[in-house]
Subunit: 207 residues, 2 copies
C-alpha cells in the first residue's frame, strides 16, 4: 500500500524548491523514523541525503527503505556538526526535530544547515510554539526551554513565540520567504483533545 | 511528471478517513480546477465523485484527467442542493470553496453534505478566518461577509472567527474531531508578503 505522508508542510516546501530552478538535491536533518519524508522527495526526482542522531530512528528508516525498495542515503550524524562541505546542498530541511534541543543548539544547527546550503538555496524548519498546550509544563531550564517526561524519559523542548524565529533568521542572515503559524486541536490518546502549536519557516540563503 | 498536491490538509483528512474502517468512497464539493484533489484519493484506492458549479473549473479538471489518464467522475452540480440520495457517501469534503458563499448558504451546503453522508462518516471543510488580511476590505454585505474584487469580478467572501465553525457544527449536530487554525505569510504576486488565514475542520456525523 502506498504510504500517506504525515509531513504535509513538506509539500509546500517542495513547491518552493521546484520553483528555484536548481538541481534537485536535498539534505534532511533528523531523517529517520517509520515514514521518512525523504521518500517523498525521492519520488519527485530528488537526490536525497539524510542524517539522524538516533540509531532507533535510522533502523526504522532502514526498514521502510527495504520494504519500499528505495535508497534514501540516511546515515548517523549530528546536525550541530554536519560532516558535509560548505555549499553541498541546494535544499535542506529539518522537520519536527529542532525543538528537541536547547535554543543555543537550535542556533548552532541552523548555522550548520546554512553553511552546507548553496547561496540561493532554500531551507525549511519548524518550531513548536508557545501556544502549544505542553508549553510551560515541566521543569523550566532556561526561558522557553522545558524538561518534559516523554515515554518515561526526560526530554528537552524549546518553545518559540510567534516572531522569535524571524529574529533568529535575521541574525543568521537568512531571508524569510514563507511562514505558517498553526494551532492543531486533535484527539488525545486516552480521550479528550490536545492543542499543538507549530511555526513553519522557509528561508533562503542569499546569493 | 508527478503532480505535487497543494491541498496539504487533505492528507490529514485521508489519514482520519482510513482510520474509520469504512469502504473508501468520497465526494468532493467544489471538485474542479487544474489539480483536482480527488486524484489524490483515487491514487489511494478511493472511489471518487465530485461536483462543481463552475464550467471552467470542470474543464480544467477534465484536462487534468485526460493528461493523467484517470477518471474522477466530476460533474456539474450545486453544493447547496446535492443531487445524491441520503447516506450516499462515507466521506465528503469541500476544500477552499465554501467561503465563496454567504454564511446562510454555507450552512445550507453543510446541511446537504451532512445529509448525503452516512452515519459514522467524516467531513472535511475549511473556512477563511478573520485573521486573513483580506478580511474587512471591500463592501460589507452582512457581518463577516464582504464583496471583493477578484480578477475584475465582484466576489463574495465569508470570514469566520476562530470558534464560529465550532458553533455552526454544534447547531448542525456534527461532532468536531479535528481543527487546525492557520496563518500563512507568503510572497505576494508583484512583491511583498500576504497573510492568509484558514480554519480547517474534520467532523463526524454521529451514528
Amino acid at each position: 500500500m502506498k504510504p500517506i505522508f504525515r509531513q504535509n508542510q513538506l509539500f509546500t516546501f517542495m513547491l518552493y524548491c521546484n520553483g528555484q530552478g536548481l538541481e534537485k538535491n536535498i539534505l534532511d536533518c533528523g531523517a529517520g523514523g517509520m515514514l521518512p519524508p525523504l521518500a517523498l522527495f525521492k519520488e519527485h526526482g530528488y537526490e536525497t541525503t539524510g542524517i539522524d542522531i538516533s540509531d532507533k530512528a535510522i533502523e526504522h528508516a532502514n526498514k521502510f527503505q527495504s520494504e519500499h525498495s528505495i535508497k534514501l542515503n540516511i546515515t548517523k550524524g549530528d546536525m550541530k556538526e554536519l560532516s558535509f562541505e560548505d555549499n553541498s546542498f541546494n535544499f535542506c530541511y529539518s522537520y519536527n526535530t529542532i525543538f528537541h534541543m536547547s535554543k543555543e543548539d537550535v542556533k548552532k544547527s541552523l548555522e550548520e544547515m546554512k553553511r552546507v546550503l548553496v547561496p540561493g538555496g532554500l531551507m525549511f524548519v519548524n518550531f513548536v510554539s508557545t501556544s502549544d498546550e505542553r508549553c510551560g509544563i515541566g521543569e523550566e531550564v532556561r526561558p522557553g526551554e522545558y524538561y518534559e517526561m516523554e515515554h518515561g524519559e526526560k526530554v528537552l523542548h524549546s518553545y518559540f513565540d510567534e516572531n522569535e524565529g524571524d529574529e533568529l533568521f535575521r541574525q543568521l542572515g537568512l531571508k524569510r520567504i514563507y511562514k505558517e503559524v498553526r494551532k492543531r486541536i486533535g484527539p488525545k490518546l486516552g480521550g479528550g483533545f490536545v492543542t499543538l502549536g507549530y511555526i513553519d519557516y522557509i528561508v533562503e540563503k542569499s546569493l
